[in-house]
Amino acid sequence: MCANLARTDEGGSRLEPFLEHEGIVVPLDRISVDTDAIMPKEFIKRIERTGFGQFLFYYWRFDENGEPRPDFILNREPYRSGTILLARKNFGCGSSREHAPWGLQDYGFKVLIAPSFGDIFYNNCLKIGLLPVVLAEEEVDRLFRMAAEKPGMRLKVDLQNTVIRGEEGVEIPFGMDPFRREQLMLGLDDIGLTHRYEDRIREFERSHKIYYRLN
């Protein structure tokens, strides 16, 4: 089990705190990439939490014989060591499988940038400390153009100041809910946080009616 998955019961640190990250941008120019494409079905039978990176984008990355497809971006230099995925709208739509963000993170991605994300996928990313950044469509277009002009372009994503910085003075601020931002920056374990409200939960349960009976 990885060190960054250690739990505490006091609402303390569980994930690696995310402050900023600099890395190579991998542009994946396609709308509505679903979680079936990110992590195909046969790999979600595994009951482990780790080791999903090798299966990331499997059908796009490897041919029927398991050989890398040279035309897929992750099989090309300088993108192999990329850590920032630049994507189009509705990235991560579809299935709730957390195996998709696990795969992205295990492969080495730290930040995802897109105009919008699938709802459940977005939450799943936050829970594991993988930063999803939402930018306006024009800004994403601009980054795609920049990445096309300069393959291997690097960006620095600063969560503390919610700004993305590139070469030649490029600065793109991004919005993020302050609570989620702080949680990522502190790497907080939200099960521990919820446990702090145990008294309130117990009080709620006393008056809340459940109508079905399992036994």
Binding site: D9, A37, N90, C93, N123, I191, I210, L214
Partner: protein, 470 residues
């Protein structure tokens, strides 16, 4: 008092803590567990030395990885067997009720929970599966969660949530003869797109929705996620109560009366405001067939495969081109000219008794096309038993269809039921994503009646002209 939407009423009823700028803490009435999304959550609990807070509000079944035949033999696929065994072992360790492979209540989680009377109006229901939105058909707020959240709910019976926006989809008029809830929801997704409802909870209202059976409403709410919605809702009515009453775990006697008092308040108040509202005319709906690689890439049976150049944006043109390439289709091809290799009738979208009846009515007295392999997978053991009592199994078997044991099966192809590469499947499931039914598999989403008709004809046909034969 300020008029409220149904969503707001359910939200408020489950609110434990609300603080400015933070997600609210909500209580979860029912937590459904399945094989795929739970093993790592239990590992997390063990690692932190945590217990399951409310095993009495948690119930499990196996559906994704289970074989649909030879249930008396061990599961042949090692990974699938390990996953199924892990769930059984975890449930035993933590005292959770589980409907295993040999239970007469086993089935697809979104089929069994409503039929057992566990899914009730006004609840909050979660499950590590995106099609949890299905349960919204009963006026319950139900949504899919990831494995980290599964662990959270196991440990606390609560979930921190930001409030969603509300979206009203009012469906006016009635569905025409020969069309179904599946055609309606595919038409809606086709019109509005796959990300139309991102960040929203949809409430489906209007005459066409009220006219639908509970099975039909489940089909509608099930596919809310294909528009990006957090959840779909239909306010409960007499049909809802009648359906629930048959469930073995549903409230009885005085508890039922008490529940009914509460359930009757579960509707959007006159004058309540939604963040967004759209209308849709049900009377113009035709039987639908998807042609592409997401559910919005859909047309009527009398339509043609579109020309990618006809799309408005370059992104859409690019995706349509990719879709036709993957699907092996040419622009302008009439949908009725597309041949079919495999027919799959099943999934959490369309595997309930009404779905099987609709398919059987088309199949009765006919024979599958010799080039077509047709598979029927009932949604649950109870559905299977009911269908067999009505001799639907005989109709299918005599027509050359395979009659299987319940599970997710070919909708996701995790259990060995796959569509071979390059083969074309008429499927009653919910996702036509690339590789969803198997690597290189070409999926066309349709209603059960349309799937049955395609199995007989060997290509897509208009079921309204094909007709029932019984």
């Amino acid at each position: 008092m300020k008029p409220k939407t149904l969503y707001e009423k359910i939200w408020e009823k489950h609110l434990i803590i609300e603080e400015q700028g933070k997600p609210s803490l909500l209580f979860i009435d029912l937590h459904l567990l399945i094989d795929t999304s739970s093993p790592q959550a239990f590992d997390g609990l063990r690692l932190a030395g945590r217990r399951v807070r409310r095993p009495d509000l948690t119930v499990a079944t196996v559906d994704h990885s289970v074989p649909t035949m030879d249930r008396d033999k061990p599961i042949a696929d090692d990974l699938a067997r390990r996953q199924v065994e892990a769930l059984i072992r975890n449930c035993k360790e933590f005292g959770i009720k589980v409907f295993d492979l040999f239970s007469d209540s086993q089935g697809i989680v979104h089929v069994i929970s409503p039929e057992l009377g566990l899914t009730l109006p006004g609840q909050i229901i979660v499950c590590g599966d995106s099609h949890t939105s299905t349960h919204g058909a009963f006026g319950a707020l139900a949504f899919g969660i990831g494995t980290s959240e599964v662990e959270h709910v196991l440990a606390t019976q609560c979930l921190p949530q930001f409030k969603s926006k509300t979206l009203e989809i009012r469906v006016d008029n009635r569905l025409p003869f020969g069309t179904t809830a599946k055609d309606l929801i595919l038409s809606i997704i086709g019109k509005f797109g796959t990300d139309f409802a991102n960040g929203h909870v949809i409430e489906y209202r209007g005459e066409a929705i009220r006219e639908l059976s509970m099975e039909g409403r489940m089909t509608i709410c099930n596919m809310s996620i294909e528009m990006g919605a957090r959840a779909g809702l239909v306010a409960p009515d007499e049909k809802t109560f009648e359906y629930i009453q048959k469930g073995v775990y549903a409230p009885k006697g005085e508890l039922w009366d008490e529940a009914m008092k509460e359930w009757q308040t579960l509707h959007t108040d006159e004058g309540a405001v939604f963040d967004r509202s759209v209308t849709f005319d049900a009377s113009a709906v035709e039987p639908q067939v998807t042609w592409g690689i997401n559910p919005s890439m859909v047309t009527g049976i009398n339509g043609r495969v579109p020309d990618p150049d006809s799309f408005a944006t370059s992104e859409e043109r690019q995706l349509a081109k990719r879709a036709l390439d993957y699907m092996g289709l040419k622009p302008g091809t009439p949908m009725t000219d597309i041949p079919v290799d495999v027919v799959f009738i099943g999934s959490c979208t369309n595997s309930r008794i009404e779905d099987l009846r609709a398919a059987a009515a088309v199949v009765k007295g006919r024979r599958r096309h010799p080039n077509v392999r047709a598979v029927v997978v009932p949604g649950s053991q109870r559905v299977k038993k009911q269908a067999e009592a009505e001799h639907l199994d005989k109709i299918f078997i005599e027509a050359g269809f395979e009659w299987r044991e319940p599970g997710c099966s070919m909708c996701i192809g995790m259990n060995g039921d796959e569509v071979p590469p390059g083969k074309r499947c008429a499927s009653t499931s919910n996702r036509n994503f690339e590789g969803r039914q198997g690597r290189g598999a070409r999926t066309h989403l349709v209603s059960p009646a349309m799937a049955a008709a395609a199995a007989i004809a060997g290509h897509f046909v208009d079921v309204r002209e094909f007709g029932a034969n019984g």
